[in-house]
């Protein structure tokens, strides 16, 4: 909200209070100052002058050479092109060296050979509303040499306040001034409506009737009749204030309604009396198929949830939002009806939202207006139209009648406001604020300055009734806030809670997350954080069809972009985007991980889930037990990583290194080993479950018990192409909750004798090409005469020349040891022979 300092001065005497101090005071009471703008559109001398001579320019038909007296020294020669420039009129003279809005600097110039020592200005050039052709003609009464900025009230300081939605009362300057007055200990000056001269013989109810269909929709409707008005421009001071508040001046009637709205916070509407059919204003719900053209020229279809103001036959305004074009103030308007009403905030909000029509009026009605103040407001508007019309008649020498204000308004107010009495216990106030010295007297002073009434008072208990404009004061704690807000938060002491020691139990996953991040970073991955959104296109790129569980997406109603339409079901999307971005930046060796959540719509999951996807139907552990009983989307905590094939560049001590599946496998094994999870099983992934992975270079990952942890693989060539990547990265995603469960399991550790040195034997074995490493590992485990064999490490795989077709050689380094003795060659040879014959039997392995 923009607050003119000059205007605010009308309601509170700010003499001696600097803008800076005022700004601090406002912020300290919760009316946050977001900026201060010093309006000074004219710089240098822009003065009132008089044309004392005007001659035709010798070399230009449309120009005149004028002599202008500004009351200082010799008259100035100024060339002017305005048709209305003529001898005898008072004009605005921008002197040499002055500056007009939009950086328009006035310099001495020659126009078609004639020297010109300044400029005669139009309204547009001064940045004023009006937009009349030609230069401004000022009344004869203005003294020569008067500062034009002063005359037009152009200079002001505008304070921008970020108002919180609870303070509807501060949407009017009087409310704002009341708060400031309470803080600064000054008195509030409210314009007196008793001084307005009304015509007792003129009766509103002779011209207008008001019917309210439901007091739920409108709790009060005041209509004041006024005759003999003229839609002339409002005085310059009023225009300036409206403009400084960000509103456009229109005519004296509309301007007065806006002016009083900005002053009181109460929206006001003025109707042309002629447009109210049947002399009746009905506040009712819109009918089926009803529509209205609003003041902004838009045809709007109405619903039964909209409140309208209607005459006998049709809607003439959308209540609380915008007036109808069919009843607006026109150039020939003579008699008006001023409407000041209350409308149901929630309904106004619905209507305004549906039309995306957020107006000054709807903003205020949604937040709540002062229902007790409607008559004052109506009279204030009328009084202002009257006094401003008189002012303009004199100033502009207009031949117009004096407007007449009806003595009584029509006031439909079925259930008058009844203030609630709220108790304020002083001890409670002290306990909440922590200020032991805050007394009943302090509280009464502050609350009364804010407009509260003290119903009764003792040292320990106050009974307070809150004013009708403070919808936010409902209970004791609200009064406590008012007292401490004005008293000052700086008086609150710094203490620490006196509580029993001991913390509540913490879910182990929380710290586990941080531990995992640290390990993942230590083994060489960089943590990234991405937006957890995805688009339908990502499913397509990843080959995820509608029957796949990862297509069960949580959909957003209002995404910021179509590629953010859904919550991600795999973290892959953000990682691929990051990889692509890093490649575009020319960076090689991207290896990123993210630890965050994926989201799944359980209603869209297929009935039958493959074992690797069953966890998707189980809510994540981080959702507290009670909330798990709600019908809500599933969230899973995952770790995912992406590894660019260009892994390490060539260096002085090693060749360039390319990364693939096995780099991913190494990262996973190393990471999980840090948590003692060592016996991982990597099993060939079912291509149907992981369409985004290369079928020949992908696996599922299982813990020792065979529980599924996640997947790993090189990105499928089709997905690689779909994302416009040249080469396929290696990617993996693992469910952290299952990792946590595996981490928690009891393990047994060797604690026996390890001091007898081991013996090693290397053997190369010829096996059919399709024999996997895993088959060997199983065979080693199942070797029934195993006694000393402790470890077997694959050190070579060979296939090709010198080997029979369909065969490959796998060479193992075998380690034998005992915790009883140092083994002899005979011990080792005996077991090796047995092993070789077992491998021959089990895998048809021949020693080479």
């Amino acid at each position: 909200m923009q607050v003119s300092l000059r205007w605010l001065n009308e309601y509170i005497d700010l003499t001696g209070v600097s803008t800076d101090d005022l700004s601090k005071a406002l912020t300290s009471i919760g009316l946050e100052v977001e900026g201060i703008k010093h309006e000074k559109p004219l710089k240098g001398d822009v003065l009132v002058g008089k044309i004392i001579a005007a001659d035709k320019h010798p070399d230009a038909d449309k120009l005149q050479v004028t002599q202008v007296d500004v009351g200082r020294g010799e008259p100035l020669t100024i060339v002017c092109g305005a048709p209305n420039a003529r001898v005898g009129i008072k004009v605005v003279v921008a002197m040499i060296g002055s500056e007009l809005p939009k950086d328009f600097k006035i310099k001495e110039s020659k126009i078609r050979g004639q020297k010109s020592l300044g400029m005669l200005c139009s309204e547009e050039e001064l940045g004023l509303a009006g937009g009349h052709d030609g230069i401004i003609e000022l009344p004869e009464s203005v003294a020569l040499g008067t500062s034009v900025a002063q005359y037009f009230h152009m200079e002001d300081s505008i304070i921008e306040i970020g108002l919180t939605p609870n303070r509807s009362d501060c949407l009017g300057l009087i409310g704002l001034a009341r708060d400031v007055a309470a803080k600064l200990g000054k008195s509030l000056k409210v314009p007196d409506d008793k001084k307005i001269s009304v015509d007792a013989s003129l009766k509103s109810d002779a011209y207008i009737k008001v019917n309210i269909e439901s007091s739920e929709d409108s709790r009060r409707f005041t209509a004041l009749y006024m005759s003999d008005v003229r839609a002339i421009p409002s005085p310059r001071w009023m225009q300036a204030r409206l403009q400084h508040a960000g509103m456009r001046p229109i005519n004296i009637i509309v301007d007065a309604t806006n002016y009083v709205m900005l002053e009181s916070g109460q929206p006001i509407h003025a109707y042309d009396e002629r447009d109210i059919g049947g002399k009746t204003l009905n506040v009712r719900r819109a009918r089926e198929d009803e529509s209205i053209k609003t003041l902004d020229g838009q045809e709007r279809k109405l619903l039964a949830t909209d409140i309208v103001i209607a005459d006998a036959s049709k809607a003439i305004g959308v209540a609380g939002v915008m007036g109808g074009a069919n009843s607006e103030i026109k150039g020939d308007t003579r008699n008006i009806v001023i409407e000041v009403a209350h409308f149901n905030p929630s309904l106004v909000r619905k209507t305004s939202k549906r039309f995306a029509l957020h107006t000054e009026a709807s903003h205020r009605f949604e937040r709540g207006v002062d229902i007790e103040n409607t008559v004052w407001v109506a009279r204030r508007v009328a009084g202002l139209i009257l006094s401003a019309t008189e002012e303009q008649r004199q100033e502009l020498k207009l031949d117009i009648p004096t407007p007449r204000i009806a003595g009584q308004a029509v006031d439909n107010y079925p259930k008058p406001f009844a203030a609630k009495t709220i108790e304020l216990r002083i001890a409670r106030m002290q306990a909440i604020t922590g200020i032991k010295t805050l007394s009943a007297k302090n509280a009464v002073t502050i609350l009364e300055q804010l407009g509260c009434k003290t119903v009764s008072q003792t040292d320990s208990l106050l009974k307070i009734s809150a004013p009708s404009w403070r919808h936010d004061i409902e209970r004791e704690v609200d009064l406590i806030e008012e007292v401490i807000r004005i008293h000052g938060y700086e008086h609150i002491p710094l203490t620490l809670p006196k509580m029993a020691i001991g913390a509540l139990p913490e879910h182990p996953l929380i710290d586990f997350i941080d531990q995992n991040k640290a390990i993942l970073a230590q083994i060489g991955l960089h943590e990234t954080v991405s937006f957890p959104f995805m688009g339908a296109q990502d499913l397509e790129h990843l080959g995820i069809k509608s029957e796949h569980p990862l297509s069960a997406l949580v959909k957003l109603v209002n995404p910021l972009a179509e590629h953010h339409r859904f919550m991600r079901s795999t973290m892959l999307v953000g990682l691929i985007q990051a990889l692509a971005q890093n490649r575009r930046n020319g960076l090689k060796g991207t290896r990123l991980f993210e630890l965050a959540r994926t989201f799944h719509e359980p209603k869209s999951l297929p009935k039958e889930l493959a074992p690797v996807w069953t966890s998707l139907s189980k809510q994540g552990d981080h959702v507290p037990v009670k909330a798990r009983q709600d019908d809500r989307p599933i969230e899973k905590t995952k770790v995912a990583a992406i590894i660019d094939p260009s892994f390490l560049p060539k260096s002085w001590d090693h060749a360039e290194e390319q990364a693939g599946f096995f780099h991913g496998k190494a990262f996973i094994t190393q990471w999980l080993a840090a948590f003692g999870i060592r016996s991982l099983r990597f099993e060939t992934a079912n291509a149907k479950d992981f369409p985004w992975l290369h079928p020949g270079a992908s696996s599922t990952i299982h813990n020792a018990k065979g529980e599924y942890l996640g997947w790993l693989g090189e990105l499928h060539p089709a997905s690689t192409k779909a994302y416009d990547l040249d080469t396929a990265p290696t990617v993996f995603e693992i469910d952290l909750e299952i990792v946590l469960a595996s981490y928690g399991e009891q393990k047994s550790y060797i604690s026996g004798n390890t001091r007898f040195p081991p013996s090693t034997r290397d053997v190369a074995l010829l096996v059919p090409s399709e024999t996997s490493y895993d088959a060997f590992m199983k065979s080693f485990v199942n070797f029934d005469r195993r006694k000393y064999l402790k470890d077997q490490r694959l050190f070579d795989i060979y296939q090709g020349q010198n080997l029979p077709q369909g065969k490959k050689s796998m060479a193992f380094s075998l380690t034998f040891s005992s915790d009883q003795k140092t083994l002899t060659d005979a011990d080792v040879d005996k077991e090796l022979d047995a092993l070789l014959s077992w491998l021959k039997q089990d895998l048809s392995a021949e020693q080479r």
């Binding site: 300290s28 919760g30 946050e32 939605p165 303070r167 905030p345 929630s346 909000r349 306990a431 909440i432 922590g434 209970r475 704690v477 406590i480 806030e481 401490i484 938060y489 609150i492 002491p493 710094l494 509580m499 001991g502 913390a503 509540l504 139990p505 913490e506 996953l509 929380i510 710290d511 941080d514 991040k517 230590q522 960089h526 943590e527 954080v529 991405s530 937006f531 959909k555 957003l556 109603v557 209002n558 995404p559 910021l560 919550m567 990682l575 990051a578 990889l579 971005q581 890093n582 930046n585 290896r591 990123l592 981080h622 959702v623 507290p624 909330a627 809500r632 989307p633 390490l648 001590d653």
Partner: protein, 352 residues
């Protein structure tokens, strides 16, 4: 000259020769030179060894005296050779050390990863809060309106709901992406009994995107509930926490503000971490930085959850982690936090 005299003279001569040989060998001392000397004097046909032959020419009476002198000579030569050998070993080591000289400036390539600045900041915060006796709590990011708004005293159809641009979930009733971590207040209070000291960091969402807003961002919520908790305690905890993070010389200030779930409510500012309150570009010359919001938990919130709002009071606070991380690490562009640019990310450490 007697045989003995001849013999003793020979001994003297060999002794002198050895001294001369020792001295001259030092010019180019090596293990080989020492070995050659050993052979020359102590070898099978060496000078000292052959003296023993000449003993045979001496009389029985002369032999012991000559033998003693020869033995002394032998010991002298052995000792001399030993010290030459030590010297030779030392110079051989010196020579070999000077042979092996690394260019220690050569680089190594490490697989060193990094943590995201928001993670680092989050860890620092959690450490400080745990020291103050807080428990870290977690909850859903996609939540029901009840937890995110209704139970937090956001009335239906009230403009207070416009304070937070909300993402709505399709095909579900009143389901949204949480707009703040304050939903955890409700989740925690539904599960735990007072006294409570809880912090909840997490991802939050608002449909807003510009230079200073991202649709996803990180917040941390904290709250304390017990009997007799005051605004002083609220101010004290937040002050203690921020001093731990940014330095003991900085103070905080509270400004009244409005959040539906607290009353009285406030925003809190910290003296600028850059200029320490003097006024600079970061704080727009005010000396203060806006950090977050806080307030005493609204009795309506307690009552909605069936708690006694007379018996219990409490306070809650919340602020953005991203912004604090930017202040702490001197970062200029919020959006860079979420772009996955490895050149940017890799500069951060693993330990905060």
């Amino acid at each position: 000259m007697s045989q003995l005299e001849i013999c003793l003279k020979q001994i003297e001569a060999i002794k002198g020769q050895f001294q001369a040989d020792s001295a001259s060998s030092k010019a180019q001392l090596s293990i080989k030179v020492v070995e050659d000397l050993r052979i020359k004097y102590l070898g099978r046909k060496g000078l000292v060894t052959s003296l023993m032959e000449s003993l045979k020419t001496l009389s029985k009476e002369e032999k012991p005296a000559a033998g003693k002198v020869i033995n002394e000579l032998r010991q002298g030569v052995e000792a001399g050779l030993e010290s030459l050998k030590v010297e030779a070993d030392a110079s051989a080591l010196d020579a070999s050390l000077s042979q092996y000289k690394l260019d220690i400036s050569l680089p190594t390539q490490n697989l060193q990863g990094s943590l995201h600045p928001v993670t680092l900041m989050r860890r620092v915060m959690l450490t400080e809060f745990r020291k103050l006796g807080f428990t870290v709590y977690d909850g859903p990011e996609i939540d029901l309106d009840f937890y995110n708004f209704e139970a937090l005293n956001f009335k239906e159809d009230h403009p207070a709901r416009d304070m937070q641009d909300t993402f709505f979930v399709a095909d579900r009733v009143a389901t949204i992406l949480r707009t703040h971590t304050s939903n955890i207040q409700i989740h925690a209070m539904m599960h735990e009994k007072a006294p409570m000291r809880v912090v909840a960091p997490g991802r939050t969402y608002r449909c807003d995107s510009d230079i200073t807003h991202t649709p996803m961002f990180h917040q941390i919520e904290g709250f304390v509930v017990d009997k007799n908790i005051s605004m002083g305690d609220m101010k004290g905890i937040v002050d203690r926490f921020l001093k731990q993070i940014f330095g003991q010389d900085l103070s905080i200030r509270l400004r009244p503000s409005f959040f539906p779930f607290v009353e009285p409510g406030a925003e809190f500012d910290l003296q600028c971490v850059k200029c320490r309150g003097a006024g600079c570009r970061i704080c727009k010359a005010t000396g203060w930085l806006e950090i977050g919001g806080l307030g005493m938990i609204h009795p309506n919130v307690f009552e909605k959850l069936g708690m006694d709002s007379e018996e219990y009071t409490g306070f809650a606070f919340g602020f953005g982690i991203d912004r604090i991380a930017m202040l702490r690490y001197g970062l200029a562009d919020l959006r860079q936090l979420f772009e996955g640019d490895q050149q940017f990310l890799s500069q951060f450490p693993i330990q905060p």
